[in-house]
């Protein structure tokens, strides 16, 4: 079997904004055999996408191949002139992007973009290309394959666009397809469908593939071999089974461990004292637009949601994108006033509107947002960011405030020297720690965590979860933990509420999040989370009727 791709001692330089040249790919070599799917696994900044793109003879603006060879189907491409490289793209090697939604041109119809490769390279007449595209749509299990191409990209869902972009990649019969995190932006139930479609099409055509991802469980379903990358260097290469079961490199082991965080050790129930719940939410209805006399907003996002959260306990809220979980956090925090229902903090009703709540109520209930990048003011130093709540809630100033800032930095395990830095100079994990420290500065009793680990790499996210647990032990905090990621929720929560289409479907203990869940949607959701097992996808059976009933695609 000959190799489709041979990469030898590849080195890529990038020019940073300040004009410095940084080596981002260091001496990388690997082969891909015909029909083989190889996964490039690594955290953000590990160079996985950069390597994948060099296989197309392409580097993003500012990057440059400075050494080594990339051989595609027997031809060296890194030193070919642009015109000859362009001739290979779409015909020999093609690309499935991370965000299909951004990669389809909003101004053209889908069919025109799918068959564009055949037009550019004059592969076949238009009618034939259209027929072939429709066949690919069928093979990728797209609905209405005959007419879906006549729509514009904004008229189809994210999961469908992702499969359409695979059709776009396959139309020119390439020898190699590069998948760049193609399911990262999708919900878990959608992801399964897309993964299955990819896998069957690739197998049928015996096409070689490169699958770029940070998610080991997803990769385990589709890849034959895994290459583990870090800081632009290969850490370990091996068959998927071997990497998952017998990892050699310490970094690989770290990645695997981060995938399954230690389950939450629950505090023994002290049921003897009938305690007032810390937070009680009763029949909340909320949404956008005008509210009518019956208290129903014109666009209802949350419908009659109730739950209780006791002191020192954590409640997880899970659900897929658009189910209203983040809106719920905003309603509890009073950012979006509810149309109906009430929120009680320690038995005391809170005003629906944030602006009418007392300073003490505001202090007790803090919210931490998903994106620390946008939640921290880039113009302020870390010390200023943390000083603000200290002054606002506690009237601190001078030495006392400075000492408290140092203390807060210690609590979130950041060096005190960071206090003079600005948010942009910090890493993603560090920024999220500052974000958390700001909530702690208020001496909150309850912290609403809205997808706080979703934008972080697995290893960093696991460390943040550890920190949350530690802080809880020390400060007897409670968390309302909102996430779409079930394993994170499992790692930190005592109870989990499942939401679908604005309603709470059920509340259960994370221990029984498997098959024992009562509601069919919960079962569907839990069974859709990929497992670190190469046979998981193939053996997974889901009731098609349930799938149909709970898909708003």
């Amino acid at each position: 079997m000959s190799n489709v791709v041979e990469v030898r001692n590849l080195r890529v330089d990038a020019k940073s904004d300040s004009g410095r040249t940084v080596e981002i790919i260091r001496d990388v070599s690997f082969d891909i055999a015909e029909g083989e799917i190889v996964a490039l696994i690594g955290e953000s900044g590990s160079g996985k996408t950069t390597i994948a793109l060099t296989l197309m003879g392409y580097t993003r603006p500012g990057c440059r191949i400075v050494g080594g060879n990339v051989t595609l189907t027997g031809q060296e491409i890194s030193n070919l002139p642009e015109r000859k490289r362009a001739r290979k793209r779409g015909t020999e090697v093609s690309y499935v992007p991370q965000s299909a939604a951004a990669s389809f041109n909003p101004a053209h119809k889908i069919m025109d973009q799918v068959i564009e490769v055949t037009k550019i390279h004059r592969l076949m007449p238009i009618d034939e290309a259209r027929r072939k595209a429709v066949e690919l749509f069928k093979a990728l299990a797209l609905p209405e394959p005959d007419t879906i191409g006549d729509r514009y990209p904004h008229q189809v869902s994210g999961g469908q666009l992702q499969r359409l972009s695979a059709a776009m990649a396959l139309i020119g019969d390439p020898k190699l397809v590069i998948f760049d995190e193609p399911t990262t932006a999708l919900d878990v139930t959608t992801q399964i469908e897309v993964l299955r479609a990819f896998k069957s099409v690739m197998k049928k055509g015996a096409i070689a593939g490169v699958y770029v991802s940070h998610d080991l469980a997803v990769v385990a379903q589709i890849a034959d071999r895994i290459i583990v990358l870090r800081n632009g260097e290969i850490q370990e290469v091996g068959r998927t089974q071997d990497i998952l079961q017998r990892p050699q490199h310490p970094y690989t082991r770290e990645l695997l461990e981060a995938f399954e965080p230690a389950p939450h050790a629950r505090v023994a129930d002290r049921r003897d004292e009938p305690e007032m719940p810390l937070l009680a939410v009763k029949d909340i209805v909320a949404g956008y637009g005008k509210v009518d006399e019956g208290g129903n907003p014109s666009v209802k996002v949350i419908n009659k949601v109730s739950f209780e959260l006791h002191r020192g306990k954590n409640l997880g809220i899970i659900g897929e994108s658009g189910c209203g979980k983040s809106t719920l956090a905003r309603v509890i925090a009073g950012i979006l006033p509810a149309a109906q229902g009430e929120v009680l903090l320690e038995g005391k009703p809170l005003d629906r509107d944030l602006r009418k709540r007392s300073r003490n109520d505001l202090r007790a209930l803090q919210i931490v947002f998903q994106s620390a990048d946008t939640a921290l003011n880039p113009a302020k130093s870390i010390a200023d960011i943390l000083a603000r709540p200290l002054t606002f809630y506690h009237g601190m100033s001078g030495q006392r405030r400075e000492a408290r800032i140092d203390q807060l930095l210690d609590m979130v395990h950041l060096p005190r020297s960071l206090r003079h830095r600005r948010p942009t100079e910090l890493s993603g994990g560090q920024k999220q720690r500052i974000n958390l420290a700001r909530a702690l500065a208020a001496d909150a009793k309850l912290i609403l965590c809205d997808e706080i680990t979703s934008a972080l790499d697995t290893v960093v996210a696991a460390a943040i979860l550890e920190l949350l647990k530690e802080l809880q032990r020390e400060l007897s905090l409670s968390y309302l933990f909102i996430s779409h990621d079930l394993s994170t929720v499992k790692a930190i929560c005592d109870e989990v509420a499942v939401m679908y289409a604005g309603e709470k479907i059920e509340q259960l203990s994370p221990d029984i999040m498997g098959s024992e869940a009562g509601h069919p949607y919960s079962r569907l959701l839990f069974s859709s989370v990929p497992k670190l097992d190469t046979g998981w996808l193939d053996s997974l059976e889901q009731d098609p009727r349930v799938l149909q009933a709970y898909s708003r695609r």
């Binding site: 197309m56 793209r89 093609s94 389809f104 041109n105 909003p106 490769v117």
Partner: protein
């Protein structure tokens, strides 16, 4: 085409009409507030109070301002622009020839500067960061920074005075041949082109640059598209909205903003007419000119918005 886009178009047109009414209101009462009484000015210093009162009654000037505003608007809608206070000619006759002259100048300038500006803007965006891009950028900034009377005056000094190639004054009515036309138009057109191109070049470059950095343009490149196809088919259609807006804004300047150029070259256009009307306090003429400028401006902006709406498939 279905209803949402029609709704948007209708909404845009209603907004334009309301704006026009508002402007009419503002123009009317702003000119009302100008100091001096028309009747006194017309009759001169020797006028008796009775004569002034008589003239005021004859010109309806004794009626409340609001009533006169209603009359005026009503007449405007029937196409009657009124009669000049100064030479008693119908204003439509006065404006007619002048408007044609201004439109002639505007269309020649547009025909020359729009293609040049768009080409420069687009190519500068494609060749971003190159020597060519920098030259274009420096040129546009230089042109924006130099006021037009400076350009106009300098070109008169160079081409008319020193070199003697072109006439210093542009008497459009005396043109007989194409060569003569070119000579007459050369300097005003060059000056105006300088002024309006710079804006268009910068906006076009920015709009194209933004779309060039999108994921779908990178995707086009990864499908094997040539740079030419990438720009023309994938980047440009999505940059159309902002580009058309920039062009409309620049062109609207050609109607109302040409006062300086028309004055320096003594070009018999409508801006010059308005300037003369101000010095003779010929209110109906000022009002009509201002309304025409506003109408032209609104027309261009509305067209630009409509193009942006229609070219966006998301709104269809």
């Amino acid at each position: 085409m279905n209803s949402p886009i029609l709704n948007l178009v209708a909404e845009r047109i209603v907004v334009a009409v309301v704006t026009l009414l508002f402007v009419a209101f503002t123009i009317f009462f702003a000119t009302e507030m100008l100091p001096g009484d028309v009747a006194e000015i017309l009759l001169g210093q020797a006028a008796t109070p009775e004569a002034v009162a008589g003239l005021r009654a004859a010109m309806n000037l004794d009626q409340p301002a609001f009533l006169r505003f209603i009359y005026w608007i009503g007449n405007l809608f029937t196409g009657d622009l009124g009669v000049s206070y100064v030479n008693k000619m119908p204003i439509s006759d006065l404006i007619g020839g002048r408007l044609v002259n201004s439109l002639k100048l505007a269309s020649v300038t547009a025909a020359i500067s729009v293609p040049i500006a768009l080409t420069l803007g687009i190519t500068a965006a494609i060749l971003r960061g190159t020597f060519y891009d920098r030259i274009v950028s420096i040129f546009t900034i230089a042109v924006i920074s130099v006021p037009e009377f400076m350009v106009a005056t300098l070109s008169v000094i160079v081409f008319a005075v020193y070199l003697g190639w072109l006439p210093a004054l542009s008497m459009a009515n005396e043109v007989t041949s194409i060569g003569g036309l070119l000579k007459v138009f050369a300097m005003p057109v060059i000056t105006l082109s300088f002024v309006i191109s710079a804006q268009m070049i910068r906006m076009t470059r920015a709009a194209v640059l933004e779309t060039l950095s999108t994921a779908y343009v990178e995707m086009a490149l990864l499908k094997g598209a040539s740079r030419r196809r990438m720009v023309l088919r994938h980047a440009l259609p999505n940059a159309l909205g902002p580009i058309v807006n920039a062009v409309a804004l620049s062109l609207s300047y050609l109607l109302g903003g040409v006062i300086i150029v028309e004055t320096i070259f003594n070009y018999p256009g409508i801006a010059k007419l308005m300037l003369d009307a101000v010095s003779t306090r010929d209110l109906p003429l000022i009002q009509s000119c201002a309304m025409i400028f506003c109408l032209g401006y609104l027309l261009l902006i509305t067209i630009a918005d409509l193009v942006a709406i229609v070219s966006n498939p998301r709104l269809q």
